[in-house]
């Protein structure tokens, strides 16, 4: 599963993209966040205030309860500020 981080999540975590292989009980976005957060360090910091972190699954905005599967492209980022 490919995971991307943008803006200050990328800064805190230190990488913009990585391949991860979570255990089978990680079934949705919320589960993935908990699993990543448990890694500590930059991850714990990036996901400390989880309510301000947005997610996308396969380049579409996704809610915390959205199911994820191996092969998905998951992205985490702060609220967008373009335009």
């Amino acid at each position: 599963m490919k995971v991307l981080y943008f803006a200050w999540l990328k800064t805190k975590i230190g990488v913009g993209e990585e391949d991860v292989d979570p255990p089978a009980d990680v079934r949705d976005i919320a589960g993935l966040v908990e699993w990543l957060k448990a890694r500590g360090g930059g991850y714990a910091e990036a996901f400390a205030e989880v309510s301000v972190v947005k997610a996308a699954v396969n380049q579409e905005f996704a809610e915390p309860d959205q199911a994820i599967a191996a092969g998905d492209e998951i992205a985490f980022f702060p609220p967008v500020t373009g335009g």
């Binding site: 991307l4 943008f6 803006a7 200050w8 996308a56 380049q59 579409e60 905005f61 992205a75 980022f77 702060p78 609220p79 967008v80 500020t81 373009g82 335009g83």
Partner: protein, 151 residues
């Protein structure tokens, strides 16, 4: 039509290209977003626009399609830049052309409001107090909410 690019754009040339030869167009509304030199109380010397390649194009395409579904547009264009920009630089261009001005105005405002809340761009500002990621404005969420369709 949408474009995500590092390079600057030429508003007059884009407008000309978009409307040339289409005599059903009665009005074209353009919005150009520019980098300001002030953010809150801090002076901004430059900003860097990060985006999510792939998702950006997908979202801009969907937003443009939605505008064309809601308003009778003859032509539309979104160009959004990324990378390093300085105060006064152009960031974004939206053009909507329609037989009547009301549709052109509404569709352009809609595109900008949606772009502010749906397009995966993030601004990092270099200010005199250091580099800082720009926070989303609540007012942008409110502005986008007015276009929500009921039912």
């Amino acid at each position: 039509m949408i474009r995500v690019q590092r390079e600057d754009f030429d508003v007059g040339a884009e407008l000309e290209k978009l409307t040339a030869g289409n005599h059903a167009i009665g009005g074209a509304v353009s919005f150009v977003g520019l980098v300001r030199d002030i953010a809150g109380d801090a002076e901004v010397s430059a900003m860097t626009l990060e985006h999510y390649p792939g998702m950006t194009e997908k979202q801009l395409g969907a937003i443009e399609e939605e505008a064309n579904r809601r308003w009778p547009l003859e032509a539309s264009l979104i160009i959004h830049r990324y990378g390093r920009l300085e105060p006064g630089d152009r960031i974004v261009l939206v053009i909507c052309a329609s037989p009547h001005r009301e549709a052109a105005f509404e569709a352009a405002a809609f595109l900008m409001d949606w772009l502010k809340t749906k397009a995966p761009f993030w601004k990092l500002e270099d200010t005199d107090t250091g580099a800082q990621w720009v926070d989303a404005r609540d007012s942008d969420g409110d502005a986008a909410a007015r276009w929500r369709e009921s039912g």
